[in-house]
């Protein structure tokens, strides 16, 4: 058995930030990740990170934009904390070595992003997430007191008889060994669940493991219906064209050459909130003004070429390698595509879930700072601020608690489950890839930008059938060394739990707010629905309860961009 004061599961930005914060406060920290930490999905974040750091800007303005962006579903106390702490967080990263873009004076320089009333997005070319992730990893290499378990796959969380979290069971991917990790507290930082959709901008590893593991031991989930569709993704493979492109001045056109955002958001145009822009695009496409491949055009040629090469280099590559388009010369065809999980494991502002000792931070968590719609460049900020706060709080918690006694029988249980999967006759069941593919398509068809009851019911039925089929899914690799097939089967189970919760919550919310647009309930309804939908496992289905949205200084208003 391996033991730590604080065990962090996930080594993206949230996990690494949490581990460093807990270690700084004297905790013995272990950090686990199913891929090498620098391969975590945080490295895909291109655009940047928000903070009201300029003297002319204010945290209140950042907070108001976030509240409005969330369509008033975000908890305002949490949003205030995030926006207040943002400037210090950016400076701390800069001091650690992040190579943020500078202005002429050698100070930190910004770019504009959607839904924001000031240019307050800090960035490193278009590798912001990667640059921050690598700098945090440099710090982990430096702090040898943080013990790293790289390429370890967590299969379940463990509670004791009193309901406290006491650790997790994980598999060493390299040799298949199953180990029990005991911990005084566990911080979940497993990222989002984008892979339940196809296409998605998310990597293959974003399978919602943390959300499902927490849900399975009774932690409530919140806002699961809020799934962000990003306005500019490539048709087919779902690759992202960063919002930075529009921030730098790119325009959107339909097939008739109209700059259609004039109709939907006359003031902010292309830089309205993502839900608004995605809906506008989808409306154009649905009403026949898109291109035959179901897209509209993003024209980046407006941006000076030098600026493109300096600030949008990665999407020059993406355009060339994956769409065969030179974005400096011609428009690129894009459409809304799955991108971000606003919902997740319900936490307070210190990352605490309803289970004593269990914390969650980053995309796996729902504080909620993003509510119905996340603003671009607020997610990296969320991972860092709440990663740090969770780490600090967990270190404090660890100081006041003893290391729990955990029985090894939980490992036996997990091993039995794995033997059962491996032992299935390869001839009988469906393949993991087939079920995944069907799940992704159904979610993208019915639980996307526009939703209605019929579609959601259909999606719900399909998910139930797939859950059945997944119980007999078969794999080819029966070995122990790097058995990715087996992990795929376990991930599939996590994904289906996520999908079920998304569908149930989307059916439940009978109004349109943020990313949830119900064509059968097209209006926002503050009287009945200004509340969070919480889901907890009850038997083998999610049970619905509600919780209040925290309002501090901003009363809900009509949202116009």
């Amino acid at each position: 058995m391996l033991a730590h004061d604080v065990l962090v599961i996930g080594a993206g930005l949230a996990g690494q930030r949490a581990a460093l914060a807990a270690a700084e406060d004297g905790a013995a920290v272990g950090i686990l990740s199913k891929v090498h930490p620098v391969r975590s999905h945080s490295n895909a974040a291109q655009g940047g990170i928000n903070a009201a750091l300029n003297p002319e800007d204010s945290w209140e303005s950042h907070a108001y934009d976030t509240v409005k962006g969330s369509d008033y579903l975000g908890d305002q106390d949490a949003i205030e904390i995030m926006c207040r702490e943002a400037p210090a967080e950016i400076l701390a990263l800069e001091h650690l070595g992040v190579t943020f873009h500078r202005n002429e004076q050698g100070r930190l320089g910004t770019r504009a992003f959607g839904g924001a009333s000031a240019a307050r997005t800090y960035y490193v070319a278009d590798i912001t997430g990667q640059a921050i992730l690598h700098v945090l990893y440099e710090q982990l290499m430096k702090h040898s007191e943080v013990y790293r378990y790289e390429e370890w796959f967590t299969t379940s969380l463990v509670r004791d008889g009193d309901g406290h979290i006491v650790g997790c069971v994980a598999r060493n991917i390299r040799d298949g060994a199953m180990e029990l990790f005991a911990a005084k507290c566990v911080i979940l930082a497993c990222g989002g669940n984008g892979q339940i959709y196809n296409p998605t901008t998310n990597a293959l590893i974003c399978t919602g493991d943390g959300i499902a593991m927490a849900y399975r031991i009774g932690a409530p989930l919140m806002d699961m219906e809020m799934v962000q569709y990003h306005p500019t993704t490539l048709a087919g493979n779902g690759l992202l064209v960063t919002e930075g492109a529009r921030g730098e001045g790119a325009h959107l056109y339909n097939a008739q050459g109209e700059r259609f955002m004039e109709k939907y958001a006359p003031n902010k145009m292309e830089l309205a909130s993502r839900d608004v822009v995605s809906r506008a695009e989808q409306t154009e496409i649905n009403e026949g003004r898109g291109f035959p491949d179901g897209t509209v055009a993003l024209d980046i040629t407006k941006v000076p070429r030098k600026r493109i090469h300096e600030a949008l280099r990665e999407i020059v590559n993406v355009g060339r390698d994956f769409a065969g388009v030179d974005i400096t010369r011609e428009p690129i065809h894009i459409k809304p595509g799955n991108h971000y999980t606003m919902g997740g494991v319900k936490t307070d502002v210190d990352g605490r879930t309803d289970i004593p000792g269990l914390y969650a931070a980053g995309e796996v968590a729902c504080v909620s700072v993003h509510g119905g719609n996340r603003l671009g460049a607020n997610s990296l900020l969320d991972t860092l601020v709440f990663g740090r706060r969770s780490g600090k709080h967990a270190a404090e918690h660890a100081r006041n608690h003893k290391l729990p006694q955990v029985s090894n029988t939980v490992v036996d249980d997990e091993e039995r489950g794995i033997r059962e999967i491996v032992g299935r006759d390869s001839g009988n069941g469906r393949r993991v890839a087939q079920i995944r593919e069907e799940l992704g398509r159904v979610m993208d068809e019915h639980v996307a930008v526009f939703r209605d009851e019929d579609g959601l019911l259909k999606a719900g039925e399909t998910v139930q059938r797939l859950k059945e089929e997944a119980r007999n899914v078969t794999i080819d690799d029966k070995g122990t060394v790097f058995n990715q097939d087996l992990l795929g089967a376990i991930e599939l189970g996590f994904m289906l739990d996520n999908a079920e919760c998304v569908v149930v919550a989307a059916l439940e919310r009978k109004e349109s707010r943020g990313a949830q647009f119900r064509t059968d309930y097209p209006e926002r309804d503050d009287d009945d629905w200004l509340k969070h939908i919480d889901l907890s496992l009850d038997g083998d289905r999610p049970a619905v309860t509600y919780s209040e949205v925290t309002l501090t200084q901003w009363e809900p208003e009509e949202r116009k961009y």
Binding site: E94, A125, A131, E138, R174, H309, E310, F482
Partner: protein, 342 residues
């Protein structure tokens, strides 16, 4: 999508059997991001180290021997299973070797460190490394001397040496110069530049480390790398070195490093990166035509202008080409573009 025939090197440590080849008619799947971002899918395809996810099978099939695309694990690292190599044992150990974290002097300022904007752009080239291991796999020196710190880790070292916030520049350089497996262990084979999917151009970073060590700090290392380098360049000054000069247009003009404008700013960089060739040019032994003209760069005037630009600069220029394009961006006709591999 047409079917492609893949010949894959399989190895299962549990079977007790040696590695074997297996033929598949399938689509090649990436590992995670499938967007050349996460660096987890490094392999060798037809002998070339690269990312699987941005390999176009059609192109790979074209230069495949007997039509079957040959897929092998990366080189210079032990194979764990099938196409998976042990990057911890080699790559990450070497990264750890270069003290890969910022070491500023004293307490940080209240606000940000104020630094030259260009310096951040400059080291962002090294920050762009996704640790895929392709350069490590392809490095010739590493093959001969497994102890060589290697292209990726040395590029990482430049990220700190080039960072004005770091206070240990000289110590870092001394360390890397004196290590017999350090910056003088590279043989300029260009392989790392050619294979890097993120244009990190590790060899160029190594050359910058050398120049900083010698010109800025006058470090004469125990391996006599400095002397060797000087002798080498003296030689070229005298006789010119056509073969090395010819490497230039290949590695640059083909676009594996620069895909954009070759124009004054770019040429500045060429001079800074390979002073030897420029000396060759100056001595007249290598004509700019043979050394620099590439079939895609037809404009003679352009070359001449570049040449003049080079001549007019006294100082060493440390701009890099990671980010290209000037306000005086050239017109379409003078672009020396080429599809970077992938």
């Amino acid at each position: 999508m047409p079917d492609y025939s893949l010949k894959i090197r399989r190895y299962n440590p549990e079977s007790g059997q040696p590695a074997y080849w297996q033929q598949f008619d399938v689509d090649l799947a990436g590992c995670s991001c499938q967007a050349a971002i996460c660096g987890s899918c490094g392999v060798r395809i037809n002998g070339m180290s690269r990312l699987a996810c941005n390999t176009k099978l059609g192109e790979a099939a074209e230069d495949a021997p007997n039509g079957a695309i040959v897929v092998e694990p990366m080189g210079n690292m032990p194979v764990l299973k099938d196409l998976i190599v042990d990057m911890d044992a080699v790559h990450w150990k070497k990264v750890q070797r270069v003290v890969p974290w910022l070491l500023p002097e004293g307490d940080p300022p209240d606000r940000e460190y104020i630094v030259d904007p260009e310096s951040m752009i400059d080291i962002t080239q090294s920050m762009a490394c996704i640790h895929c291991g392709a350069c490590v796999s392809a490095c010739l020196s590493m093959e001969v001397d497994p102890e060589f710190i290697g292209p990726a880790a040395l590029a990482k070292a430049y990220r700190f040496v080039g960072d004005p916030r770091d206070a240990f520049t000289e110590d870092r350089l001394l360390d890397l110069a004196e290590d017999p497996h350090g910056i003088y262990d590279c043989t300029h084979c260009f392989a790392c530049i050619e294979v890097c999917p993120k244009d990190v151009a590790p060899m160029n970073q190594i050359m910058r480390l050398r120049r900083r060590a010698t010109s800025d700090y006058g470090i004469k290392d125990g391996n006599n790398g400095y002397g060797h380098e000087k002798a080498f360049s003296d030689l070229i000054e005298k006789y010119g070195l056509l073969s090395e000069a010819q490497l230039l247009p290949k590695s640059y003009g083909d676009g594996s490093l620069i895909r954009a404008q070759v124009k004054p700013a770019a040429l500045k960089e060429l001079t800074a990166k390979l002073p030897t060739v420029i000396r060759g040019l100056r001595s007249g032994k290598v004509s700019p035509k043979t050394a620099l003209i590439h079939r895609k760069l037809k404009d003679q005037d352009q070359i001449r202008r570049m040449y003049k630009e080079v001549e007019s600069h006294e100082d060493r220029l440390e701009l890099n080409l990671y980010i290209v394009g000037d306000s005086d961006a050239e017109e379409e006709g003078t672009m020396a573009e080429g599809g970077q591999e992938g």
